[in-house]
């Protein structure tokens, strides 16, 4: 069978992702992977989840193992709605769709809104999983907010983009936070130009220092002034970083007309997300456990961020710069212009350290001298060891080039 000739046009545009290759390479026990955005397995609340699963199965096993509402179980949507609601914004459970991880949220939003060739505004660099999910649409990517706050919103809205995508808190890969002024002006422009934005927020609750900034979703709600969500921002949340990624439970918050469309698409995609996992996520999170767990994760991850920053300062040559995130999992490193991070990766693998080279995080072929490091997966002493090894490779390369 000549399958090549049978592939759909979109399938031809798919490429094997580095993400998968990296996940595979994680099987080796010697390699220290600073590549993935996975939590340290030792930080997973295994006992709590086990107890939750026991309660779910003994109290409502039949229901938890059945098909369920495509929008998600009511208990979990109410739980999320309550957590997200603030003084200025009331999130209605009907605005929420449970997704199979926030990756599915990104996919569904793309399928609901994007036509081939649409103009989409993103930061550059941006999240690799979104670039992969939307690659099939051959989008006209337009970078924004890449030179500080100089962007003229009236100008970037011409011609009118179809969609914007941002990780507003502890951005993947830079670790940066969108300042409040940017959020305020952005939501005004969204309404004025009738352009929706997807706010992808898997890390927002993992803040290690500094003051929290309201989400774009909340800024939009404040602008709309009705107390409900404003409708211009689509919000993607996830339990992956604060509870367990293996459960694949994420959610979208969206304007109701869009929720209706997204549900139709989700039905065709997988009918509903695992009902059992939704019950387990709810049962494990309730009664304050999720907040306790987040508080505990914050101290653990803060130590790791501090250890990695300290190691970067100690071992990396001064020509190399890096971001200093107040939360999340990632640091973006910038090498001297002439250095290529793919070449660095090839050498680093030999020393048992891997990371994500910047070219796969950038649009328009930029960023070949950047790389993303994750500090979430290992204890401080291992992170220090990895950075020391990486620094040696960088110094070798610098010496060769000079």
């Amino acid at each position: 069978m000549d399958w090549d000739s049978l592939l759909s046009e979109r399938a031809r545009r798919l490429e094997p992702s580095r993400l998968s290759a990296i996940m595979q390479s994680r099987r080796s026990t010697d390699v220290i992977s600073l590549a993935g955005g996975a939590p340290d397995p030792e930080l997973l609340p295994v006992e709590r989840i086990r107890a939750a699963a026991d309660v779910v199965l003994s109290e409502r096993g039949g229901e938890a193992l059945s098909y369920g509402n495509g929008q998600g179980i009511a208990e979990l949507r109410e739980f999320i709605a309550q957590r997200m609601s603030t003084e200025f914004m009331r999130v209605d459970p009907d605005n929420i769709i449970i997704t199979s991880g926030s990756q599915q949220g990104i996919d569904l939003v793309g399928r609901a809104l994007l036509n081939d060739g649409d103009r989409v505004l993103v930061r550059n660099p941006t999240y690799m999983g979104m670039l992969n999910a939307w690659r099939g649409y051959r989008l006209d990517w337009q970078p924004i907010y890449c030179g500080g706050e100089t962007d003229d919103l009236d100008q970037v809205m011409q011609p009118r983009p179809k969609l914007m995508y941002f990780v507003t808190d502890f951005e993947n890969p830079t670790g940066e936070v969108f300042p409040p002024e940017r959020r305020a002006s952005l939501v005004k422009a969204l309404a004025q130009y009738q352009v929706p934005a997807l706010e992808d927020d898997p890390y927002g609750q993992l803040r290690y220092d500094g003051e929290p900034v309201p989400t774009l979703l909340e800024f939009d709600a404040q602008q709309a002034g009705s107390g409900a969500i404003g409708g211009h921002v689509i919000y993607a949340g996830s339990f992956s970083k604060v509870l367990s990624p293996g459960l694949r439970v994420g959610w979208l918050v969206a304007d109701k007309p869009l929720v209706t469309r997204l549900m139709q698409i989700k039905q065709g995609a997988n009918l509903c997300s695992s009902i059992f996992d939704q019950f387990v996520a709810y049962e494990a999170s309730r009664d304050g456990f999720l907040d306790e767990n987040i508080a505990w994760l914050r101290t653990r991850y803060a130590e790791r961020r501090d250890a990695m920053i300290a190691a970067l300062e100690r071992y990396f040559p001064p020509e190399v710069t890096f971001t200093r995130p107040e939360g999340g999992f990632f640091i973006l490193v910038t090498l001297p212009e002439s250095m290529d991070s793919v070449e660095l990766l090839k050498r680093a693998v030999q020393r048992d350290v891997v990371f994500i080279p910047g070219e796969s995080l950038h649009i328009q072929g930029a960023g070949s001298n950047t790389l993303r490091l994750s500090f979430s997966r290992y204890k401080p002493e291992i992170l220090e060891q990895a950075i020391e090894r990486l620094a040696e490779v960088i110094k070798e390369m610098l010496a060769e080039h000079i």
Partner: protein, 424 residues
């Protein structure tokens, strides 16, 4: 005057116009519509309605205790793995188990031929993404499975209906349809949803010859094959196709879609696709973007429950109780349905299809049926040739025997009235 960033500026508030979504949706969403099934399920949530509408396995037979043991084992021995991200292809042990279950004397399936999906619905979605472009022709049985129509709706496909009878897809009528050069053929060969018919082995053998002659791929969707009430399951089209090509690997024309939803639990959302590695590779890439991977915990549970022969014993039990429910339903239909009405008599699966005389419109009948406390799925939506208005689908697996008789009696009365007093 308001400051540039004054969130409470009244001028901005007045101008913070609501989003006009109609102009922002992607073109492909224009082909979507609300699912009839969903609307119906909402209506039948009332406790006084005896519903034959769902496609559901019976929750009272879920092996809850075994699942509980599986969760305890998975989380106590490998909790840090079971709750972590995992590979897109799926848990290796589960893929091995599925490969071994589907391999037989003629066909050897490797774990590399298998992708774990978030229910078999995702298998259909991924196959659609990877194999069909807008406007492609696809041959399907008439009637066909609604979930497939739902998954592939964004592509505005041109469906070619193939006629069916009690032996399933009429293979003799297929050849002229293949001359229209369809992109693929979609078949539910066992205890078809909604028809309840099964493709005979003799027809399967002639079907794979056509696949080879016309070089056309076939999607074999087999959620019900293991729910076989008498005799042994028929060999898969996947296996017969390989045999026809003289190979012992799944490298022919068939992409096979399977699931644990009907034999274990639909709430765990674990299905799988079996295909040649080249196709699996593309499906993996599509799945990476769709949801990275299926629930690690659910895969661990499925594996733990399925191993050691438990699943086979459980399936044998399900077959016994579902057969009994089918028998109760068929006996009640014989007793209460008018003579002008006929129906399929499946020897497995979950569904049967009822055909009333042409003047009966079952969509109209449904509203009255629900008033009287009984529900079914009208057949029109399953028929892509515009026919089937006089048919409806009944589910027997999820109907408690003590309620089936009352439900069928209500339906029988309704059918008799509809025949005596035709609408219009």
């Amino acid at each position: 005057m308001c400051g540039k960033n004054d969130l409470f500026c009244p001028w901005y508030k007045r101008n913070h116009a609501a989003m006009q979504w109609d102009t922002r949706f992607a073109a492909r969403t224009a082909y979507m519509k609300r699912s009839t099934i969903r609307e119906i399920l909402k209506l039948t949530a009332r406790p006084d309605v005896i519903s034959f509408a769902g496609g559901l396995p019976a929750p009272e037979f879920f092996p809850v205790e075994r699942v509980q043991e599986a969760v305890d084992l998975a989380l106590s021995e490998r909790g840090q793995v079971a709750l972590q991200y995992s590979t897109t292809e799926g848990m290796p042990e589960l893929r091995e188990l599925i490969a071994a279950r589907l391999s037989d004397a003629r066909l050897t399936i490797s774990p590399d031929n298998i992708l774990i999906t978030t229910g078999s619905q995702q298998g259909l979605d991924l196959i659609g993404r990877v194999l069909v472009d807008e406007g492609d022709r696809v041959v399907v049985e008439n009637p066909t499975y609604l979930g497939m129509l739902m998954a592939w709706r964004p592509y505005a496909l041109r469906y070619i209906p193939a006629p069916t009878d009690t032996d399933g897809l009429n293979v003799d009528a297929l050849e002229p349809l293949l001359q229209q050069k369809p992109k693929l053929i979609y078949v539910v060969p066992n205890y078809q949803n909604p028809g309840g018919f099964t493709l005979s082995v003799e027809r399967r053998e002639r079907l794979v010859q056509l696949l080879a002659r016309y070089e056309v791929p076939l999607v074999e969707d087999n959620p019900y094959g293991e729910l076989c009430f008498s005799g042994s399951p028929r060999p898969s089209i996947l296996s017969i196709d390989a045999n026809n090509l003289g190979i012992s690997t799944p490298d022919g024309h068939v992409i096979y879609v399977g699931t644990f939803s009907k034999v274990l639990s639909p709430g765990l959302r674990i299905g799988y696709v079996v295909a040649t590695e080249q196709v699996i590779d593309k499906l993996v890439q599509a799945k990476q973007s769709a949801d990275l991977h299926s629930s690690t915990l659910d895969q661990f549970i499925t594996y733990e429950v399925a191993r050691d022969g438990f699943l086979d014993r459980h399936i044998a039990h399900l077959c016994e109780v579902y057969r009994e429910r089918r028998d109760v339903m068929l006996a009640a239909m014989e007793r209460y349905f008018p003579a002008e009405v006929s129906w399929s008599k499946p020897d497995g699966g979950l569904f049967l299809l009822v055909t009333a005389p042409a003047q009966v419109d079952t969509t109209e009948l449904l509203a009255e049926a629900i008033k009287r406390g009984v529900a079914f799925v009208p057949g029109a939506d399953f028929h892509i040739d515009g026919g089937g208005q006089n048919t409806f689908r009944l589910n027997f697996s999820n109907a408690r025997p003590d309620l089936v008789e009352a439900g069928i009696q209500r339906l029988g009365d309704l059918l008799k009235e509809a025949l005596a007093h035709p609408v219009k």
